[in-house]
């Protein structure tokens, strides 16, 4: 990873797609090698999320129509579906419903 002064134009960014990744981290323009999946070599904290995530993706079909409707209503006007929201609500509440 290296810091750069300014992101290049979109055409340049797209031109390096697959080999170099340009991104912004905390307001700082950065560049790095294009990320690849590490396969099954994951950190324990990441592995701990596999079971909840698997469960979260399977939950949708178990929800009653009333609950599915509630998720779909929440998702209106966003880029997410009701099912996406149900997964996010299951895994973490902090970014969805704030009290």
């Amino acid at each position: 990873m290296a810091k750069i002064k300014k992101l290049p134009g979109l055409a340049v960014i797209n031109g390096f797609k697959g080999s170099i990744d340009f991104y912004v981290c905390r307001g700082i323009a950065c560049v790095r090698k294009w990320p690849h999946s590490p396969g099954h070599k994951r950190a324990p904290a990441v592995e701990a999320q596999w079971t909840p995530f698997t469960e979260a993706t399977r939950l949708w079909s178990m929800l009653s129509p009333a609950v599915q409707d509630a998720y779909s209503r929440m998702a209106r006007g966003t880029n997410l579906t009701g099912r996406d929201l149900s997964v996010k609500c299951y895994l973490t509440n902090l970014s969805i419903v704030r009290l």
Partner: protein, 294 residues
């Protein structure tokens, strides 16, 4: 596993509030957060390869109140009494909870629900038309088949209107049955028969009042003992339908006839007389939960 999801929700509306029961996929201990204000929606974006793109949203509850579930410990079914909740008003609510005492990272969706109105959790049903039997021989001021008009008052009028029976022989057994007004009761926890009666003639232990029901074509008598000379209230609680052995249903109540039976009781003089001034049926409604038989 420290996550939960609300799978289903059921409502029991009553005049002043509503019970909410939810089912979760794992045992947990939930709290309900509710508000009368629509949650604010705030769109979020994320930087994707240098560009800010729309991503999702988060929702803010304002002026919320918290209610902890009434069931102890971690459970699959969770009941909440939302009181007060005015009829025809809307609330928004969501659930958070703990599993084994540890705060779960999960949250439910936001539910939106309008209270449509409902009966109180305890409903008194009064006789509103004659039933199949009108055997008790005296009705003041209304004779058979309109005995029900003499005993259906909300506040007992004692000797102003009543039904009464001479019980001249050992085998005297006289029954009145009435139809009762109903409404949408939902789940029923139990019913209680109630009558207000007294002995007005004859020696002690000579008259007996039995609370009586007819359900599924069968009549059942529930003796409440001999009557004194002063007015006395007699009750009989029936958590289950005695014919089916199952909890009472709306259909059972719609078809139910109930009333009183006056009869001679052992001992004392051979001639006696009993009077009933009030009869009604108290229905205690239950809390609906997901998976309850409808």
């Amino acid at each position: 596993m420290n996550n939960f999801a609300v799978l289903d929700i059921a409502y029991t509306h009553y005049d002043a509030g509503a019970y909410i029961c939810v089912k979760t996929n794992h045992a947990c201990h939930l709290s309900l957060y509710h508000t009368i204000y629509p949650p604010g929606r705030h769109k979020t974006s994320r930087i994707e390869r240098g560009l800010a793109v729309p991503w999702g949203a988060y929702f803010c509850f304002v002026a919320w109140e918290e209610i902890e579930q009434s069931d102890a410990g971690d459970t699959i079914y969770h009941r909440f009494n939302v009181l007060p909740w005015m009829v025809l008003t809307t609330k928004w609510f969501a659930f958070r909870g703990t599993i084994g005492g540890v705060l779960s990272p999960s949250v439910s969706c936001i539910f939106e629900h309008q209270h449509p109105g409902g009966l109180p959790m305890s409903v008194v049903l009064y006789p509103d038309s004659p039933g199949d039997l009108c055997e008790i021989n005296t009705g003041v001021p209304n004779a058979c088949p309109n005995h029900y008009l003499n005993i259906n008052e909300v506040v007992p009028d004692e000797d102003t209107s009543y039904i009464e029976q001479w019980l001249p022989v050992f085998t005297s057994v006289k029954t009145d049955l009435y139809n009762l007004g109903t409404g949408t009761l939902g789940k029923i926890e139990s019913i209680t028969l109630h009558s207000r009666a007294k002995r007005i003639w004859g020696a002690i232990n000579t008259t007996l009042v039995s609370l009586t029901i007819k359900t599924h074509g069968s009549i059942r008598y529930y003796s409440t003992g001999p009557l004194p000379l002063a007015w006395v209230d007699r009750y009989r609680n029936l958590p289950l339908n005695p014919i089916t052995g199952l909890p009472w249903t709306q259909t059972d109540i719609n078809d139910l006839q109930a009333g009183v039976t006056l009869s001679w009781y052992t001992g004392g003089a051979w001639l006696s007389k009993a009077r009933v001034t009030q009869f009604n049926l108290i229905v205690v409604r239950g809390i609906n939960c997901p998976d309850d038989p409808s």
